[in-house]
Amino acid sequence: MANHCSRGWECKENDVDCNADFETSGNLAVFTVSKQYSQRLNRTMIMKRITDAVLGLEKAAHLLQRAGFGGSPDEVRAWAAKSPDAAVAELVGFGSGSDDDFGPPVFLETSAESDANFAKEFANLRNLRREDQAAAEQAQRRLNAQRRRVQYQGIGELRAWWLYRMRYSNAPLQEKMTLFLHGHFASATQKVRSPGMLYQQNQLFRRLGNGNWEDLVNGVASDPAMLLYLDNARSNRRKPNENFARELLELFTLGEGNYTEEDILAAARAYTGYSIERETGEFVFRNFMHDPGRKTFMGETGAFKGEDIVRIVLKHEQAPRFLTAKLWRFFVGSDASEAQVDHLSRVLLDAKWELKPLLSEIFLSEDFYDEKVRRGLIKSPTQWFVQLLKSMEAPLPDPRISNGILIQLGQELFNPPNVKGWDGGAAWINSSTLLNRYNFAGALVRGKLPQNLGRSPTNRRSYNNRPNLRSVVDPERVLPPADRKDRASVQRALFARLYQSQLRATDRAKFMEYLDTQKDPANWNERDLQEAVHLLLSSPQYQLA
């Protein structure tokens, strides 16, 4: 009797130890897990799961910060009461969140029409060029500038929209995975000017962040923003462009050293014709550009298209290791050991590249909650910013301020510095960025507009009206009367909200020493509270999640 594997296909062998080729089904491919590799991994399932009945405050805080963007003390308390299984299932299932909670970014309503109009105008100019080149050139320059302004506005809205989702989503892991995938499958507005395309790519990540890795990779290979960014839109059989093929293998799926230059060329040929419809910005497969010939890729030969390349790549032993190692690094903050990678690769392969089991395995493992892991990850600028607001239960400031801050801290959304994305970890921190974090924290806490906001073309400082900035510290919420009855209460409340940990004895002692010099907290005004909060945020400890 045929079994159905987790993807619902008939298979010829037992599901758990499958090593046979499946039949292709539609556009989706089949894969083989080499029996030897699978058996080797079988022996290395070393990671244990936590066995607590409920998460408790510390684990809950840790989980929320890593799988999302943290939370307020109330949220942490709510999650602390859940069982690990229930909590992780909710996170990994992207449960309790829905697209309906958020509308699409504003520019989308008009972008299709606007894009069409611009396309028409540019077409007109091509005619004008024949009659009067000078006038056409001038008009073209003006039209370009106009379109750029519209695009910049759209990108600004897109950023604001995503930050809003990160701040308010009830499916925090969905937004966190989107952020991970945005850095992994990097595309940048520097080259991909269209906000519509970048929105589409972002939605792809959002939809498939807990889906199937093969679907994701194939989705990215047909994503207009990516095809544009890596020069595949014009790649054709006469002159195949290798850029996308190279990054697919080197950065997206396998890592250097696991393929040859010939493999890259074969893959490039397979991806010829994967292009973009100029008018609409949608993906289109152009037959006449595609190289239909036979290619030899990683030892297999056939008239391969892109999906075949991905199918073959995922058979490589390194494929699951590459992804699991990178995901571990992102969520845990340090490198996984070989044994851990073995274990997680086995989970991923058993699940036929579905990401949910892998994510669950990570978030339920003892290793994830290890003492050395907790408070061991340097927050990315986005994490630092969103988490600050969530922990204060404060709204987002003006998008120009948000983006300016993120630029200065080194992470402009939709504009990673290159196709490798962001290095992360210690790379976020140097003297300047650390001081900037302290000073921006001060600006947000005191409600004073920062002077040195970063500038990108999409974040021009030519304010028609200067944005206002309200303090993110609401005294009623951050330090209600109950928490002001003595200095120890103040310290406990502020540490709980800001650090979500009571830290070390020395950290508490330093702050108590400071509190001893201050007046009775019951008499603190707004400024006194702001000052204390600012000081707590201006520390190495605050940079850790």
């Binding site: 000078a134 210690a426 003297s431 300047s432 960025t433 000073n439 001060g442 020493e513 190495p540």
Partner: protein, 428 residues
């Protein structure tokens, strides 16, 4: 910041730890660590050579800067935009400077200016973003490198150095500074490069801030002051050390800048203020090896005649003032300035009174130690010799970088550029 100004990390450690808040006894290894730190900071920072790198952002039009005033092709290609023969400041039989670049003319006459013809790279890229990236990372045209060339210099040759080993007077850290071990200080306004939010007399606040940012536990001394995350080092250790370094750099710069200004006269434009700041930091004894500054506005697609002259008036006068200031302070021989742009512009003017993105163009070197005059070969302007309407490069920009590494900073250029590029004979 009210606490005593602390000049080096070494000083701070000695005062902080020994004078220290906690009852810490110094383990034996600290002594050797201090020695390591001392060695890393160099025998005498005050006489080490300094490189200043300036980007003219936007793609400066080289042909209207270093004008081939005798070349018919030039006048034929730029019937409206060419600098008239009578207008340029003649340097020799073939070339003259844009009439607004008086500061450079003076530097030329003083024997302090070197002009390198035709600087560019194979397979030129005409995108601002991409070409700037190529210049900053010293990559090949088709390569994508993450670290900057100056960052690789920091990584390979400045181990244990203070963060202020590189200072960029810009809003954002330049890609050229990007290093595996993040280092370098960036600020466009020195008053910004400090912890804001402490007012005078805020002693308890200051105490708490310092207590949180004084480097923390003694463990950090073990790694000899290295600015990177070593395996086994916790993220907190790394952050604590960076916090300490930030304090020290901030103090250093604050102290240096509070000292008397050098008294030299500068034009007063924002760009010249950047240079004045750098001159002051040098005069004040900072141990910085590389400074970086930038001046934008060079993307002259339209109506170039209206803006290009003004840009050069600013740049040339500021650099003249800067060079004179350095010499007056006795630092003329130490400092070499390199001025570059991410690409030149097309030979033929466009229909909007401007020029479009091109390829090769001149780069400039300024200093008392350089061999003044022209270097390299001017590319041909004959239409048949152009590459898609652009000048062919005759000097790879990485040769210029190699020269800076080998002959200014005195380090092996191959370790910074990845392979050997012939140095130019820019120094006597």
């Amino acid at each position: 910041m009210k606490h005593p100004s602390l000049f080096t990390r070494r000083d701070f450690l000695q005062t902080g730890v020994l004078g220290g808040s906690a009852a810490l006894t110094l383990p034996a290894f600290v002594g050797s660590t201090m020695q390591q730190l001392a060695a890393a900071e160099g025998a005498d920072d005050k006489d080490q050579p300094i490189l200043l790198v300036i980007q003219l952002a936007g793609g400066n039009d080289g042909l209207n800067t270093v004008v081939p005033w005798e070349n018919d092709h030039y006048y034929r290609a730029r019937t409206r935009l060419a600098v008239k023969k009578g207008d340029c400041l003649k340097l020799d039989d073939e070339f003259g400077l844009n009439k607004n670049a008086r500061g450079f003319k003076q530097l030329w006459d003083d024997g302090k200016l070197g002009v390198i013809h035709g600087v560019g790279y194979p397979n030129p890229n005409r995108s601002h973003f991409r070409s700037t990236e190529i210049w900053h990372t010293a990559s090949d045209s088709k390569q994508q490198l993450a670290q900057g060339w100056i960052g690789r210099y920091f990584d390979n040759h400045c181990k244990g150095a203070e963060p202020s080993v590189g200072i960029s007077i810009t809003k954002q850290s330049p890609q050229a500074f990007r290093a595996k071990n993040p280092i370098g200080v960036t600020f466009d306004d020195p008053s910004r490069f400090r912890f804001e939010g402490l007012e005078d007399g805020d002693t308890p606040e200051e105490e708490l801030f310092l207590a949180n940012n004084d480097g923390g536990s003694i463990n950090m001394l073990e790694s000899g002051g290295q600015m990177k995350m070593e395996p086994g080092m916790s993220a907190l250790d790394f952050l604590e050390r960076t916090a300490l370094d930030a304090q020290v750099s901030s103090d250093q710069i604050d102290t240096v800048l509070k000292a008397k200004k050098t008294g030299a006269k500068y034009p007063g434009t924002p760009f010249s203020r950047q240079l004045q700041l750098i001159a002051q930091l040098i005069a004040g004894g900072m141990g910085t090896r590389v400074y970086y500054a930038s001046r934008g506005g060079f993307d002259t697609h339209a109506n170039q005649a209206a803006s290009h002259g003004g840009l050069w008036q600013d740049v040339s006068n500021a650099l003249l003032a800067f060079q004179r200031d350095l010499e007056a302070q006795g630092h003329g021989k130490r400092v070499t300035t390199l001025v570059f742009t991410e690409f030149g512009r097309r030979v033929k003017e466009n229909a909007s009174g401007g020029t479009d993105h091109g390829a090769a163009g001149p780069a400039f070197v300024i200093g008392s130690s350089i061999k003044p005059g022209f270097h390299g070969t001017m590319p041909s302007l004959a239409p048949a010799d152009l590459f898609r309407g652009d000048l062919e490069h005759s000097t790879d920009f990485r040769s210029v970088y190699a020269t800076m590494m080998d002959q200014v900073l005195g380090v092996d250029s191959v370790s910074v550029l990845g392979r050997k590029f012939e140095s130019l004979k820019l120094f006597g």
